[in-house]
Symmetry: C2
Subunit: 648 residues, 2 copies
């Protein structure tokens, strides 16, 4: 059977009349067994959905179904601690009585795993549709038995969406508040000032919660801003009307200093504002409105945090994914100066949403308390005038949208459903900065991609999970010398290095990988990872744009010598990893026509020569030809000397 091979995707695209656009092919495909991945999996335990990394302790905490583990973050196969949190038989029966499955739903799915202090984790589980939270002491690794009601912190139903983030000891979460899952809320759990959203369509309309994180105020900021917590979710659109229920991705934010209102919005957010996230390509009629995951890229190199988000389309999705990035300042501009939307009744029975063009009360509804507000004697949200509070209660939705960085998508890829994203900003040898995106798929793979002169280059695809199961969680550890990607699925956790530099055995192969993590060390003749200890940039060769001229020797002249019988068949081998290259064979410097009756190319690589005769003796070379920036880079992959002998 002939195996699908490099170049075939393109061929098929032509055969089936599909545009080749949006089909960047990963340059290299690493099969599961080909690369050294470390696994963690406990027999009988499933749904490894929650990962938490302690970089100080080099420990990875893993929340699964009915269990929490601590494993060595540098080698996750090494389990350090484990603790089980099972549902009692009695509770299971009660849950089953309510019509839920005893085998699957009436168990305890860990959904919240957040650091409470240096020695304690905050853990919540669905607990057979009775969400419960506890404190997990790390030394010893034991639950403190708090048995807090987890309502509003953790979903009842393991199938429902959830997100949470611990900020200064208070848990901010987005989840549903009841058994049926019909009461969605975004809330803060705090003994001093618990706050939540209203139950009202304008606030949350059948949402799915995706992600939450805190952005600390800029300490050099003169406006006296507050820390802010951002929520990413989808909900059914109120502003658009479509043939079906249309999902709209949203970003919402609340202020950490929010105390709720005194009369209006008592114990409710006074700072809850939300806006549309746009990720589309209008000239191709592509619209990505199913938000899958968000990653916050931040660091000393960055002027401001950047939100990276991965999307798929809701409509007509035959396997299409996109990545869009959003600058924090763009988001803030919409919330601080954007227009609001208002709802209006039309003909007594239709609610329509339009831009609000009337006067906006002061202080600005939904704004955090800053120096200006304090100067006007609004020192807390409890002081805010009713007019401002009533306005934000009725107008939580902005009319302006959050537009992606550079007004466009970072990446569009056909024939894949991305599920999760993590991003690392990497400096190449020539000091160029690349945002390296790691994208997991619903079939257990990981894509590593960078933007090269506005074109996407997918450096490699790694099959993390042998069984092609969806990746549910992705986590990045980016400490120097300890750079790993952790991926959780239903069956376990996988740890992969951020690059497989050593797999490239020649200088040309190392440079053509166009991987900012990798460079060629010509003295040791090895492709090294730049972030590894003891690696200095001096004398190394790297060109992320793919120029190979700096490579000293383009061929390792290793001949294979073969003797064959007259009339027989020879098979000459050739190994080639790049999906973007094609293999051509030369015989005595002439091209071999591989579809003639004399020759056949097997698997797109190896050459079969039939009916050997004296004239077939000579030197055969296998070359790889790869298009890099519209230039063909050739490299000799193998040389074979064939000698055909008359039968003795």
């Amino acid at each position: 059977m002939c195996v699908p091979m490099p170049g075939l995707l393109t061929a098929l695209a032509v055969v089936f009349g599909t545009a080749v656009a949006f089909a960047p092919v990963p340059r290299i495909t690493w099969e599961h067994r080909e690369v050294g991945l470390v696994h963690f999996h406990e027999p009988g335990i499933f749904n490894y959905s929650t990962l938490l990394l302690s970089e100080d302790k080099d420990t990875l905490y893993v929340g699964a179904r009915e269990a929490v583990f601590a494993v060595n973050a540098l080698h996750i196969a090494e389990k350090q601690h484990e603790i089980y949190w099972k549902v009692s038989e009695d509770k299971k029966l009660k849950c089953a009585d309510k019509g839920k499955s005893k085998q699957t739903e009436c168990l305890n799915y860990i959904r919240v795993l957040q650091p409470l202090d240096a020695n304690t984790l905050y853990v919540c589980g669905t607990n057979a549709f009775q969400p419960t939270c506890d404190h997990l002491s790390l030394t010893p690794f034991k639950f403190l038995g708090k048995n807090e009601d987890g309502k509003g912190r953790c979903p009842f139903d393991p199938a429902q969406s959830y997100t949470s983030i611990m900020v200064d000891g208070e848990l901010y979460s987005g989840t549903s508040y009841n058994f049926l899952g019909s009461e969605p809320i975004i809330s803060r759990h705090s003994s001093q000032s618990p706050l939540r959203t209203e139950y009202a369509i304008p606030w949350l309309n059948e949402p799915s919660f995706i992600f939450a994180d805190v952005i600390r105020r800029n300490l050099s900021d003169a406006e006296g801003q507050d820390d802010k917590v951002y929520f990413f979710f989808m909900e059914v659109s109120v502003e658009y009307e479509f043939v079906f229920k249309l999902m709209i991705p949203r970003i919402a934010r609340v202020c950490k200093g929010d105390q709720g209102g005194l009369r209006t919005l008592q114990k409710k957010w006074t700072s809850f504002l939300k806006a549309r996230l746009i990720c589309s390509k209008p000239d191709s009629n592509l619209i990505f409105n199913i938000l899958r995951d968000v990653f916050v890229l931040r660091g000393p190199w960055l002027k401001e945090p950047v939100f990276y988000a991965v999307f798929t389309p809701q409509l007509n999705n035959m396997g299409l994914s996109a990545v869009c990035a959003y600058n924090l300042s763009t988001v803030e501009e919409v919330f601080s100066h954007g227009k609001y939307m208002q709802s209006t009744m039309v003909e007594q029975s239709h609610t329509k949403w339009v831009r609000y063009n009337g006067e906006v009360p002061k202080p600005r509804p939904g704004a955090c308390i800053n120096n200006e507000a304090r100067a006007a004697n609004f020192t807390s949200s409890l002081n805010l005038p009713d007019k401002t509070l009533q306005f934000v209660k009725d107008h939580p939705l902005m009319d302006d949208s959050v537009i992606p960085t550079d007004g466009r998508t970072q990446l569009i890829k056909k024939d894949v459903n991305y599920t999760q994203i993590v991003v690392e900003r990497v400096q190449a040898l020539d000091r160029t900065i690349y945002d390296v995106m790691f994208l997991s798929t619903d079939r257990g793979a990981l894509h590593k991609a960078i933007s090269l002169e506005n074109d996407m280059h997918i450096i490699e695809e790694t099959q993390l999970f042998q069984d092609f199961e969806p990746v549910h969680t992705l986590l990045l550890s980016s400490k120097k010398d300890k750079k790993f990607v952790y991926a959780g699925s239903n069956s376990g956790v996988v740890q992969a290095p951020v690059a497989f530099c050593r797999k490239h055995s020649t200088c040309v192969a190392c440079v053509l990988a166009r991987d900012p993590y990798c460079a060629w060390n010509p003295h040791a003749s090895v492709c090294v990872a730049l972030h590894q200890e003891h690696v200095s940039g001096r004398g190394l060769i790297q060109d992320v744009r793919g120029g190979v001229s700096a490579c000293p020797d383009r061929v390792k002249e290793s001949y294979g010598q073969h003797f064959f019988k007259h009339g027989g068949t020879a098979e000459l081998k050739c190994s080639q990893k790049s999906n973007l290259a094609r293999v051509v064979w030369k015989f005595q410097n002439g091209m071999v026509k591989a579809d003639s009756p004399k020759y056949i190319l097997v698997g797109g690589k190896n050459l079969l020569i039939f009916n050997l005769s004296k004239e077939d003796s000579g030197v055969y070379q296998c070359l790889s030809e790869e298009m890099v920036k519209n230039k063909t880079v050739s490299q000799v992959l193998a040389k074979h000397v064939l000698e055909v002998q008359l039968l003795s």
Copy 2:
């Protein structure tokens, strides 16, 4: 090089993580050279956009750029007449002065070719942005030089959409009325009663015209209904609000007896109503809103005409097409009893469309004059009360949608963009009725499909045009013994038979084709077309569900005998057309493992055996295994007797 082969699509679908759903593969692919197609093309003439068939005369009229031809409909290569209609140099220059291309746009594209009477055709062309119409006498084949102004009958711009239909000597057309293409109208050209649409967004909002046809009144109908002309078009939605401009497919209808209003709607349609056409699969979030073509299926077998329409998605289209069918009665129900939509101003600046729930004036706005209206003394649209006319002027859009037959799509197909459709209702040997759909693609191919127990079966794919150019026009001739499909493209016209029965050389191959046109004649040992002369159903074998048990002999026992040398390589051939089958090889009744070092399958079919020895002598059988209704049907395609001889 290894060629893409049967089964590979499935393999790739798995490799790339895409759903295999919506990917029915044509069972047989006929390459352009493989089948006998007749071509018509005149050197130097392009854009064969308009086809008109005279079944009485067995003549096909072809409207192209600057020329009209009459060809023999039974063999279109045989040209009967030709006449040229070129633009004068002077006119070309004037057109070029207005910024249009002299080489392409400032020519005369024939866009209307309609029968006026038995000896005259009505012809209009774009005529260098000065649309002009003329009468073409058939004997002799000559223009009468009428030089009528073609405004509103034919577009100015060859790139713009158009449709027209001649009804009782009056031309009904949908096109644009001005040079810029900014004034779309649907009109009737009549010396007695010319009528047209209003220039207003509620009537037509940036439409693209696709198709028009007349449905005659049912003569047995007691209501005294009128003949009706239906227009199919798309326009920018007013009722939905979306991130982009959303196109909505529409069906509109006018009454032949419409005379316009006396004061209100003077010389305008009083019977113009339009409704949404729905073609979607909500459970998969598929929405098809780009209407490509419509075909009216009618005939003595049918209770009522059925509109077959082919669609592609506007949003996120990576190559996806669908067919939906609509019963005339469903359409009529919407127009006769459906709710209307109304537009309302919201907050002074937004127009929103909602269902109109108020009182509807009588007679019903937009209705044709029927017996009931006549009885109430409304004998003509000129008598209609102002209230009715004003209402239909403001409310031409229905709130109810036209739902497809059985509430679902007939066919959804991935990796293809269908452009045109024709349908024939065919009775199989067992008297089961099949609607055979012929669908052309944007890459010059034709698919023939039927619905088999709610699954689509694409019987075959025929490459009509070698250069993979889009098919612009499709026409069906369905007279017994003269059944052909005619396809027009930019380069020419192709005539294809509706079936290639004779290509199936065995009973099993003939029956497995599952083609209602074909049956096996066991006496003559030939696969015959049922619609051909002198073919009677008696004794023939056909089973469109694919049961092959009636076939008398499952194997033609024709052995190939081969002698090979010891140590050599043998290639055993096998020919297999079905893309749904796979080839397996047997040696002495054991299965051959084709990926072992000993054997290789070339092109998925032929068997290579290496390093021959005495033990390889024996009988090799090539079998095809095809899944038919979850049962595997095996057939022996070839037998080879191999004898390996020691070198003499």
